[in-house]
């Protein structure tokens, strides 16, 4: 027979000291999810410059002077954009790794290792983000 428990306010962040690994995993997954969907809308908006660029003169496109190429290159020339990209990679990698963990939990695999797999997701995210820094900062002028 199923029972219901009063778990208190789910999103009571005042209780953060009491949070378990699973609670942190849930909060991080939600936070990274908000960032990713926010980015998706922004991403499509920026890429929409391709709509104008597609109507440009072929010589303008060949010279890479179309609005799409120029917009992306202008953004990529900014250090702050490169730093945000490393942040975006970290957010995406964590969401992917923790997402794999959640799918496994849903399938009933590794239930006893839930805490450890969350910590492993965090460590691996940190390592991948740090390792990607040289790639993301290549060619930027400070």
């Amino acid at each position: 027979m199923s029972q219901s428990y009063n778990r208190g306010r789910i999103e009571d962040f005042g209780r953060w000291r009491e949070f378990s690994a699973g609670m942190w995993a849930w909060i991080f997954h939600k936070f990274t999810g908000w960032v990713l969907i926010g980015y998706l809308f922004t991403h499509i908006a920026v890429l929409s410059t391709a709509l104008t660029a597609a109507n440009a003169d072929p010589s303008t496109i060949a010279a890479h002077n179309d609005v799409y190429t120029q917009t992306i290159r202008a953004l990529e020339s900014l250090l702050v954009v490169r730093i945000l990209e490393v942040g975006l990679l970290a957010v995406a990698v964590f969401h992917i790794l923790n997402g794999i963990r959640l799918l496994l939990v849903d399938l009933g695999i590794g239930l006893e290792a839930q805490d450890r797999s969350f910590y492993a997701s965090l460590v691996l995210t940190g390592v991948i983000a740090v390792a990607s820094v040289p790639t993301f900062l290549a060619g930027v002028t400070f």
């Binding site: 809308f41 499509i44 391709a50 992306i72 794999i100 790639t135």
Partner: protein
């Protein structure tokens, strides 16, 4: 019987779709990041190269599927987060409608962009 802590309805279609899209997105998001930041570099982007990729039907199909599944997964995730925070009644229905419209607009705009690269003219507005 085991307790259920999920905010999804039991046996719900959205519950399953969220997980099916997750499995797809794990692979495609990783591929997308790898291709466009590590194989090709974002600061070397050109309209011609983007168009060249989008003119390959397999890449175009993958990106369109990526757009649709990512939009569903993200917006459905936002909706569930809001329900989890206690959204109910008329506000819940209004939020569902607003998120559905936002998703549709995002997918249409993404398709228009993909078609601009691929050189596809489906309709005057798309």
């Amino acid at each position: 019987m085991a307790e259920r802590y999920s905010s999804f309805e039991k046996g719900g279609r959205r519950w399953l779709l969220q997980r099916v899209t997750a499995a797809f997105l794990i692979v495609v998001l990783a591929f997308h990041f790898f291709l466009l930041h590590f194989v090709n570099h974002a600061n070397e982007v050109t309209f011609q190269m983007s168009a060249g990729r989008m003119q390959q039907w397999i890449y175009y199909s993958l990106m369109v599927l990526f757009l649709i599944t990512a939009t569903f997964h993200g917006v459905n995730g936002v909706y569930n987060a809001l329900v989890n925070m206690g959204l109910t009644g008329a506000r819940k229905r209004a939020m569902k409608a607003a998120l559905s419209v936002a998703s549709l607009l995002l997918i249409v705009q993404g398709l228009r962009t993909a078609n601009a690269w691929a050189g596809i003219d489906l309709l005057p507005i798309i």
